[in-house]
Symmetry: C2
Subunit: 329 residues, 2 copies
DNA sequence: CTGAAAGCGCTAACAA
DNA sequence: TTGTTAGCGCTTTCAG
């Protein structure tokens, strides 16, 4: 547990010189450098981030705000964030809010207390007012879920267009009775995806039946099941379902199977997100792929730029419709 | 961005007094306390963890080492860790090693550099020598995966017994030709679970066929599929499969379905872990439940105790066989 | 009950 | 090229 003082003494130089070789800057003679490096090795010295961080007024930590760690949608994004963070010598503090304002507040305090240098918010249920207030003093990026009016930079995809294409695909393969399993309309992405759904139907002269549109409180599996239960019992049963998340779609799939019906023969399904499991179901799920890894790396790069004082612009990334068994009937 | 100095000045007291009311200790008159609290509010002061941490030589951060964040098995454990950490005013640094030694080293350096106060290791592929060396100077807990000889405290379940019960269940419902999809034997849990499998068969007078035992390089979905492909093509096809992880089991299930066979009628399946998705497949998966949340909280409590200088004992938690559709034929 | 002052480990401005 | 020194923001010992 040596410190920089002891290394300096051991090497017969000043602490400033040690610091210089540590940070590879300033000018140091080869001979002095060797002496210092020797001393470092001999003492098994590791510079303390505690001292360095205080001196530099930074923590080199990025705070990631997600609603639920068990939602696989976030896994790949986090992976991307971590990769980018690591190359810039940042680390990530993973914070699960459970969409609980109290927890959220604890995490917000972390940046106020200089425990983190910035925030990547991915929680759709985030308290926007708090976020805006925080953004006045700290670096913040919105990832995937966002509010334009906040003025906080975001990285996301075109949800309306993505939903439009998904539903258009269903229409193209012959479906007209298409149900929508949406999440709560308080979320922007839910409103956007619903818009895309409507546009696809309208453009093709298919009337929109409100009883085909279901809203769930959350985007969990059970909620997809519940919604599908109601849809199956409809007098005029749809032949296809568009769910705004793979978790909902997988719930719907399970419910259809439980009722002895077949996907895609009786009911076709399209999901959203392309989580790992969308490829493990039977049948595999047609779904909209978001470039999650890229989204993560870009969000991290943006945040780091912002921390360094740069101005950053919001970005809208491409998406892709992945056609698989659940619509290939 | 006020600091403690400015608060002291504003309140007309010394920094020591401000520190005292901040930490709610030492003795401060009610009157002085009010003055200080007023100043804090007026200046919108938030104490900096950077200063505090340097002074206290701690980071209040727990480093969590996992191989893959997308593996849902870890989600619930992490959730448990976070809950416990939060109540003790610690935060968690999530580190995904990808079973890559270089990355692992970066993370190990983090504790050497005082960026983290301790480690919870859940990576089966961890470099045990490094871990042992690190454990001499830093607090470390092994969670789920462990090595006894390391002398590092662990929290886990009885893998041998759990596997034994899983296979015994298959035998009880009439199966004799039971295949095993195991992961690489370099992992302790793989060896333990194989032992349980063998004991169950032996106790019931069922001969062990080596061609019924398959090893996979990793515990991913595709590896389960691959293994199942070979098993299905066996001349003497098994009527049941025990997979040492749900991910493998779900891969096996998919492959069985792809071959037009039925679970559990043609082949029954038992998995391991009770990840969320084990309940979303069709049919739902019989599996061994590990108390993941509890495992996480306990690991965190143990680590925090160790950080505080206490001696901690390893713990073996209970498991439970959850019988669902994939064995209810 | 309160204040002065040292010091945690580091970086960087300034001087030599 | 190298050294001296101030100071990042906090806690805590020791005096008063």
């Amino acid at each position: 547990m040596a410190n920089i003082q002891q290394v300096a003494k051991q090497a017969g130089v000043s602490v400033a010189t040690v610091s210089r070789v540590l940070n590879g800057q300033g000018t140091v003679t080869a001979k002095t450098r060797i002496k210092v490096e020797d001393a470092i090795k001999r003492l098994n010295y590791e510079p303390s981030m505690l001292g360095r961080n205080l001196r530099n007024s930074e923590s080199r930590i990025l705070l990631i705000l997600i609603p639920k760690i068990s939602n696989p949608f976030y896994s790949e994004i986090i992976n991307g964030i971590e990769t980018a963070a690591l190359t810039h010598h940042y680390n990530i503090l993973l914070c699960e809010t459970d969409s609980n304002p109290d927890r959220e507040n604890i995490y917000f305090d972390l940046v106020r207390k200089k425990m983190a240098d910035g925030i990547i918010s991915m929680d759709p249920a985030v308290n926007v007012e708090s976020l805006i207030e925080l953004a006045e003093s700290y670096a913040i990026i919105q990832c995937s879920e966002y509010t334009v009016e906040s003025g906080i930079p975001y990285v996301t995809i075109d949800n309306e267009e993505a939903a439009y294409r998904a539903v258009k695909h269903l229409i193209k393969i012959g479906h007209e009775k298409i149900a929508l399993i949406n999440s709560d309309e308080k979320f922007l992405y839910a409103r956007q995806r619903q818009l895309g759904y409507r546009r696809a139907l309208e453009e093709n002269g298919i009337p929109i039946s409100d009883h085909y549109i279901h809203h769930t409180q959350q985007i969990g599996f059970e909620y997809g099941q519940q919604a599908m239960r109601k849809i199956i019992n409809l007098k005029d049963r749809p032949t296809a379902v568009f769910a705004v998340s793979d978790m909902l779609a997988i719930g719907a799939l399970k419910e259809i199977n439980n009722n002895g019906l077949n996907v895609p023969d009786d009911i076709a399904i399209v999901g959203f997100d392309k989580i790992d499991f969308s490829n493990m179901t039977h049948p595999t799920l047609t779904t909209v792929a978001q470039p999650m890894h890229k989204m993560g790396t870009i969000a991290a790069e943006m945040l780091i730029s912002e921390i360094q004082g740069d101005q950053v612009e919001s970005i809208i990334l491409d998406h892709e419709l992945v056609i698989r068994e659940s619509t290939s009937g």
